[in-house]
Amino acid sequence: MAGLGSHKTVETSAGQMTFIQAIQSAMRDEMERDESVIVMGEDVGVKGGVFGATAGLHKQFGGLRVIDTPLAESSIAGVAIGAAINGMRPVAEMQFADFIHPAFNQIVSEAAKMRYRTNNDFSVPMVIRAPFGGGVHGALYHSQSVEAFFAHVPGLKVVIPSTPYDAKGLLISAIRDPDPVLFFEHKKAYRLIKGEVPEGENYTVPIGRARVARQGNHMSVFAYGLMVHYCVQAAEEMAKEGHSVEVIDLRTVRPLDRQAIKSSVEKTGKALIVYEANRTLGVGAEVSALIAEECFEYLDGPVLRLGGPDVPAMPFSAPMENFFMPNPEKIYKAMRQLAAY
């Protein structure tokens, strides 16, 4: 994965950071603030991660706090759980979300249930970070969107930021959270997306709260991660034709910000959910069920979903990869379809 693994310095203007710099900055700030914060994963040490998310941390904090682990994902999650039980705040990196599956049992059977199964005696304050999503020629095993597997599980929180500001603020919140948080970072956003991040300021963004990415009145479009940016682009095209589209960045897919979803749909009467994961039984299914059950009398049209196709994963070859990925054109088309109802 040479193309994904190279991490050149990205030029940004003052106050601006790339998405990945915001991630780095959150971990550095929290490690400086709290000695119990440790980072662990494959290649996170001297190399600084295959994407560079942990660049510089090993040099600054040493090998006892920035730990290169063996290539065994279940042990990354399981050891992090044990460390969290015994007073640490581990930030564990799965090199790609696609490789989180060997750790599924530790995350779902152990971390997620620890507080519940001990009647609040134990807790697992742990973050698992993982790059997800496609559009970088990563093919079947470096492009997956795995959030739905974990969003199904009570006891877990699943956070997926779209902007550098939110990435930093939400990652700090995740590290300070008393429960296990899965933190998915869209790998195409790492260097593509830049934005304002207050310099030297320690701030948090609350987990479980959506954000209005673009105000509008005629329809509500719900998305997270890279898709938020694509939805805003498509909404701008719609605006040229007089359609006012509201884009809601969910930011957290478990727990969902039910109130934000309902408020927007009650205002616009129409809803589209856009996500890159396989369409069936994804986050779109839950958002759409929530709207159907609780916003029925406000609806002026069917609730639509635009997702990735129901094929096992994203192919390598560029035309097939583009076929899989939702993009501004496909989103614009779906918006037009909903507007026409």
């Binding site: 706090r65 063996p70 065994a72 042990s75 050891v79 044990g82 015994n86 059977s109």
Partner: protein, 350 residues
């Protein structure tokens, strides 16, 4: 892998030997009570420690109960009683009553856990706890503490990938961990020769560059000695060890199993002759650490304690049904009703 047993048994004070015997006997008697309750329809599920108490108690007493971390598995009743759980805790657990301390009566019995006693909570997924022991050891070392973490497992659990990942991680980072295997030759019905292609789990330690020893689990002082050695090595910064205690399983896997279907009758009878409990008792008699009168009095005392605990558990209320909604997260949701499975009806029905 057989160790040369030293001529002289390890120095253990008479009072400690008595305390060890008390823990073993208490575990056996509590376990027997649980089966009675099961057969009487008052305990839906029982899974036993019987036959393995010696290995369990011998190992616990070799450790520092004031600071070490314990990751038991479901047979480790004697481990948790030696650490401070009580007969009342266990009886509340088998009856699923309110106030059950391991899980608030959420988990099946014998899924132990207590932050106060540093007993790491376990689920039912076998072998996962080894990684948690490694993680607690990583944290202890990060803070410069001398605590050791011990992970218990049956020989079947050592087939899990997690178990090998745990041994590898602990050894790479030279963490203060003891991998303690209670090999009773059966994983439910699957015998050792279908579980692994080696005679001794302990040989696997070599693949992870750590010491691995086999010990007779019926020989309590010897279990104590080898565990103490492993703990000393761990505290000195010399990394993890694997101890394999050869033990016997006197009962079926659980109250839902019948081992007569898959075990030779002669084997079951033979193993009953090798019970760790009378053997350790006789050792104490020989050492002058215990008299017959003291032993009889101890049984009477423990019987009374277990009778009282049984009565207390029978009298205890069940948890309120809605307690099932609590403690999913550290911060409860704005409304617990958000967690309910019923339809969200916002209109008048009648």
């Amino acid at each position: 892998m057989k160790l040369v047993k030293p001529e002289v048994a390890p120095e253990i004070e008479a009072a400690t030997l008595r305390e060890m015997y008390r823990s073993m006997l208490l575990a056996r008697m509590v376990d027997e009570r649980c089966w009675l309750l099961n057969r009487g329809g008052k305990a839906p599920f029982v899974i036993s420690c019987q036959g393995q108490e010696g290995a369990q108690v011998g190992s616990v007493f070799a450790l520092d109960r004031g600071q070490d971390w314990f990751a038991p598995y479901y047979r480790d009743l004697a481990v948790v009683l030696a650490l401070g759980e009580t007969p009342r805790d266990i009886l509340l657990s088998v009856m699923g009553k309110a106030g059950e301390p391991n899980s608030g009566a959420r988990q099946m019995p014998s899924h132990f856990g207590s932050r106060r006693l540093r007993i790491i909570s376990q689920g039912s997924s076998v072998g996962t706890q080894a990684l948690h022991a490694v993680g607690t050891a990583l944290a202890s070392r990060s803070r410069g503490e001398a605590a050791v973490s011990i992970s218990y497992v049956g020989e079947g659990g050592t087939s899990q990938g997690d178990y090998h990942e745990a041994m590898n991680f602990a050894s790479v980072h030279r963490l203060p961990v003891i991998f303690f295997v209670e090999n009773n030759n059966y994983a439910i019905s699957v015998p050792l020769n279908l579980q692994m292609a080696v005679q001794d789990v302990a040989v696997r330690a070599a693949g992870y560059n750590m010491p691995g020893v086999v010990v007779d689990g019926q020989d309590v002082p010897e279990v104590y000695r080898v565990t103490k050695e492993a703990a000393d090595r761990a505290r000195a910064g010399d990394g993890p060890s694997l101890i394999e205690a050869k033990v016997h399983r006197f009962t079926s896997h659980s109250s839902d199993d019948d081992q007569r279907v898959y075990r030779p009758e002669a084997e079951i009878k033979q193993e009953a002759q090798e019970d760790c409990l009378p053997r350790f008792r006789d050792h104490l008699f020989e050492e002058g650490a215990l008299t017959q009168e003291q032993e009889t009095a101890l049984r009477t005392e423990l019987r009374k304690q277990i009778d009282d605990a049984t009565q207390a558990a029978e009298d205890a209320p069940y948890p309120a049904p809605e307690e099932a909604l609590l403690h999913v997260y550290g911060q409860e949701p704005p409304s617990l009703d958000d967690l309910r499975g019923e339809p969200r009806v916002t209109w008048d029905v009648d």
